[in-house]
Symmetry: D2
DNA sequence: TTTT
DNA sequence: TTTT
């Protein structure tokens, strides 16, 4: 029984290759940095560009797909919600993070620039929510080993998953 | 020539009355705190609630409307984009802010609870982008005086507009 | 592996009470007529209103919730996709229908006006996707009896479900 | 003062080259046919594909841009609203049309397939709402001549703009 | 047919 | 801090 709508729709390009980690429960958590650029005229008629870098997180199966098929430069569609988090560091200083938690992802046309690892041909999109190619291929494998200890979905994150 | 889509859609309730400031150029900048709550079942089958508090900013005419008609408890629809900002405080510490910059707002049904100042009857919507009632009424006036010195749209903000 | 995004977001009011039917498989299919009104200035500076009446369909559990809690006049948020259908009538004439197939619904504040049947207090939302009150109450029951013969989800529709 | 939200977001591919007409007032009206495909599993576990063909209309400057840069096969993002129209033909039969009226368009990566007319390199998008390349190039010109008689924006459509 |  |  949610109260309210918290919806984000992004189309942008990755600034770097995705990073995938695994929770103690073995759930993939992939993070990407996605750029969206807007342009406006300022008061002097000058064109002003501004790029937002969104930190987008994909969990579970969607995290595996994002980690395998997205690359630096990839263009993709993301739908999700905004999540604001606060952590207190060892120095006692509070740090704030804003993430987009993805519900859906689609790869869009356009060539990635990830160097020697040509991504699987996946043109025209391929909705990540519903299917997953059974035989990932191409380039170096993206998956890091999942922790041996597998718990339930929703288990605590591994230590190195703290975001700062 | 924007590159990418950065779109946010929110439906939520205000946690407080709006705050309206004015730039040196006389442009209204209204900020609200908008709650959206989601619910999920955790691994133990327990219902977990989580509320995100979005800081939403309205500029110009939309800022005036938001400042006049929204109140603590009001339910509204907001469409806009995400903007990430970083400021360095006097202490040299960097602070990060995430705002939703609104493009459109609609008031939704439901009664505000702003105490003695019954807001103008406006239930069921009234698209803020396009029209503005000529005679605001009801309760204490919401508008703070705009700075006497009016510059162009896009002028620098007054000192007290620094967000920390 | 969908190719493309087909997403609709509506906030509007119901022009009539919902209509719920059941497939042979026992799945609820609720249809509402939802109004959204836009306003623009024409070339003479005259304000022109235009209302679109969206035919929105809710299936399964969401269909049951929509049928029970929405009423004529209710304001709600709907998220879904557009579906275009063509049927050939007994007279050989093709008929076209456009539906919004809802994925999510939230009731918004505002009072319904469905006569003597005060709807359950549910104002301010209540995400239909996730929960369903166990004891519907108030007014005349909304549910028509589901067909005794229950098949699988996705079964053929009953005869009277043909949309013309 | 709109009442309600009527928003459509599409990402899809054009099934044909765009068609551009002009109103008596000289306003470009470009129509495209945009495919979005969804996939679901039916009750037998079979994968079912379904493609919706959206008729999307672009008016004014956006119509000119869409007509010049989109081609059969192009992938694009469209944001707009749904409009339902009814016309009565000379035979007295009512015909119904559903259009998506675009507010915004962005070309997405991916190669168009429009034969010999390579579209201008426009990778990564290029928001149609805000700017327009000053020197369109490549292939045969897409613009048909605008009617000599230019009226105000919003003028009646030419006869051949009737949609059936 | 709703709503304001 | 809202709302249910």
């Amino acid at each position: 029984m949610a109260r309210g709508i918290n919806k984000v729709i992004l189309v942008g390009n990755l600034g770097n290759d995705p990073e995938t980690k695994y929770t103690q429960g073995g759930m993939a958590v992939t993070t990407i940095s996605l750029a969206t650029t807007s342009v406006r005229k300022d008061k002097d008629g000058q064109t002003q560009e501004r790029t937002e870098w969104h930190r987008v997180k994909f969990f579970g199966k969607l995290g595996e797909i994002a980690g395998e098929y997205l690359r630096k430069g990839s263009q993709c569609y993301v739908e999700g919600s905004i999540r604001y988090d606060k952590f207190t560091g060892a120095d006692g200083v509070e740090k704030y993070f804003t993430d987009i938690v993805a519900d859906e992802m689609q790869m869009l046309g356009g060539r990635a620039e990830g160097g020697g690892a040509p991504r699987r041909e996946f043109s025209g999109g391929g909705e990540a929510r519903q299917s997953r190619p059974s035989q990932p291929q191409g380039g170096a494998p993206r998956r890091e080993a999942a922790p041996a200890k597998a718990n339930d979905f929703g288990a605590d994150f591994a230590d190195d998953d703290i975001p700062f």
